[in-house]
């Protein structure tokens, strides 16, 4: 049923650090690479080498300019499914294709039941779900459900592909339902926030806001370069010749 579980044993999700994300797109590429052969495969590309490139991505990185009275800064912002506690994308599904797992809270789609009505993508305020026009079904982030429980992988690799790929450790994976977990403590320490809390979807994923400006930048500019004095003699002649 598309009714939501009253309680999930775990709340697996991501914590994304907007302070350290450099917008390198490594998570985007790693996600696409893993998932185009994974649980929701393929992540279809339409006209990949033509003029109207389109395709399914579970993770997209935006860049914003955040301007406050403290000044402006560029913030790179990865956007993917937040595996909400009360996701309307699940309850609106007419067929039972969308579901939230009671065991770990991951929101998934059973592709074989999806009729491609797109209503779930309308119900998601975050744009987490993308329609695969080629297969005719909706697709979304699986939190790499086929990696995190995969006994064939080394233990350190049992994290979502985006987390494994991040070169600045801006992405963290864990159980946000357990207050003692490393991710929960990170959220508490850094004041992690929900996206669009006013929507009431209770997202599991948290975003760590950029740290406050440190004012540690150099306050004295470098000394100005002085113009080269015109000299006489041989060096003056060389200078004039080279300046022409």
């Amino acid at each position: 049923m598309t009714c939501l579980p009253a309680h999930t044993d775990k709340k697996l999700g991501l914590v994304i650090d907007l302070d350290t994300c450099v917008g390198c797109q490594a998570c985007v590429t790693a996600c696409k690479e893993w998932n185009t052969g994974g649980h929701m495969a393929p992540l279809t590309d339409i006209d990949p080498y033509g003029g109207n490139v389109d395709g399914v991505w579970f993770n997209r990185v935006h860049s914003y300019e955040h301007t406050t009275e403290m000044g402006g800064r560029t913030v790179n912002f990865p956007r993917s499914c937040l595996h909400c506690e009360t996701p309307a994308c699940v309850t609106v599904c007419p067929t039972g294709a969308s579901y939230k797992r009671a065991s770990d809270g991951i929101v998934l789609i059973d592709e074989s039941k999806c009729i491609g009505c797109k209503l779930c993508s309308w119900a998601c305020p975050y744009g987490a779900r993308e329609f695969d026009t080629d297969v005719g079904v909706m697709k979304k982030c699986t939190l790499c459900v086929d990696r995190i429980y995969n006994d064939n992988l080394a233990e350190e690799d049992r994290v979502p592909a985006c987390v494994a790929a991040c070169p600045t450790s801006a992405r963290h994976f864990g159980d946000l339902g357990d207050p003692a977990s490393a991710v929960s403590q990170l959220v508490a320490e850094r004041g992690g926030v929900d996206l669009m809390p006013e929507m009431g979807y209770k997202p599991t994923n948290k975003y760590l806001p950029p740290r406050a400006h440190t004012q540690r930048a150099a306050s004295v500019p470098a000394p100005r370069l002085e113009p080269v004095k015109a000299e006489g003699g041989f060096l003056g002649w060389v200078d004039r010749m080279l300046s022409n």
Binding site: T2, N52, P94, C124, E130, F131
Partner: protein
């Protein structure tokens, strides 16, 4: 929101179809419209035809229409599923009413019961359609107190307009029905104007700040994730209507409300063949106008995902 032609036609056609079915069920079942084979056949044919065409059209925008039957299963949580169940369940009393009223020429008794049940089913189905849109929080223009009554009013309006045209065409036109169609048209007009005013003054709590979790100041989109438009922008970032909103709203008002009202007023004043022609014309013009209205309903709706793209 991208106005898919199949969904625009679906909501307009089933709205009018269920409106007509409900009115025929009540008025025919209770004998206010006397049983007549051809009138009944064409009336019920029109109502059920519009419903069937609409339902078939709605499967046109599905990615996997062959699995549409699965949509009847999740009525406990999904308004779309409830709409599917209600729309098909309504066909049972509607079919019985059609047999009794059209084939047997009977009114009252079990035919009345079937007619009333069909009318209840029609109202419930239109409510479920309205709730699909009214329940979507990311789209503030739909998640409003105006959406559900709007669907009910427009269903009654287009249904009564069709019933009036039908009765006029069979020379059994009733002043009460024509008056009701006229009043409902004015009600629909007023409701649409109020809805537009509400939407234009809407203060939406969700901003680029809350969407990104970046508190204070301004958040400006610097770079999209990809250079080309994707599914999200094509489906949810539709902008053509917002560019031409004023003109399209005027076209809606003329076609859906002003012109049908004028034609009906003329039909009151003129003798029968003209009155019938004008009544039929009014119904056709209004249906076309409602297609524009429904197109605008989609196209003017702004989804929160567009905030991520600076739109």
């Amino acid at each position: 929101m991208h106005p898919a032609a199949s969904v625009v036609f679906f909501t307009t056609a089933t709205g009018a179809g269920y409106g007509l079915l409900g009115l025929l069920g009540v008025l025919g079942g209770l004998g206010f419209v006397s049983a007549d084979f051809w009138l009944g056949l064409i009336g019920m044919g029109l109502a059920l035809g519009l419903i069937a065409a609409g339902l078939l059209s709605s499967t046109g925008h599905l990615g996997r229409p062959e699995r549409a039957w699965r949509a009847f299963s999740q009525w406990r949580s999904s308004w779309l599923s409830r709409e599917g169940v209600a729309s098909v369940a309504t066909l049972i009393p509607a079919g019985l009413f059609g047999i009794g009223w059209v084939l047997f020429g009977r009114t009252g008794g079990w035919v009345a019961v079937a007619g009333l049940l069909a009318a209840v089913g029609a109202v419930v189905t239109v409510c479920t359609t309205g709730m699909i849109y009214a329940s979507l929080k990311p789209i503030a223009q739909w998640h409003s107190p105006y959406t559900l009554p709007g669907y009910l009013i427009f269903s009654a309006m287009t249904g009564s307009m069709l019933l009036n045209a039908l009765l006029q065409a069979f020379a059994v036109g009733a002043t009460a029905i024509a008056t009701a169609a006229l009043l409902l048209t004015f009600l629909g007009w007023g409701w649409k104007l109020t809805t537009w005013r509400y939407n234009d003054a809407l203060e939406i709590a969700t901003t680029a700040n809350t969407a990104t979790g970046l508190a204070g100041g301004t958040v400006r989109s610097l770079e999209w994730p990809h250079t080309e438009e994707n599914y999200l922008l094509k489906e949810m970032g539709f902008r053509i209507a917002r560019k031409h909103a004023a003109k399209l709203r005027l076209i809606t008002q003329v076609l859906a409300f002003a012109l049908p009202a004028l034609l009906l007023a003329l039909a009151f004043a003129l003798p029968r063949p003209f009155a019938a022609v004008l009544s039929v014309l009014a119904a056709i013009v209004q249906f076309a106008g409602m297609l524009v209205e429904r197109w605008l309903f989609f196209a003017e709706a702004k989804h929160t995902v567009t905030l991520y793209y600076g739109r």
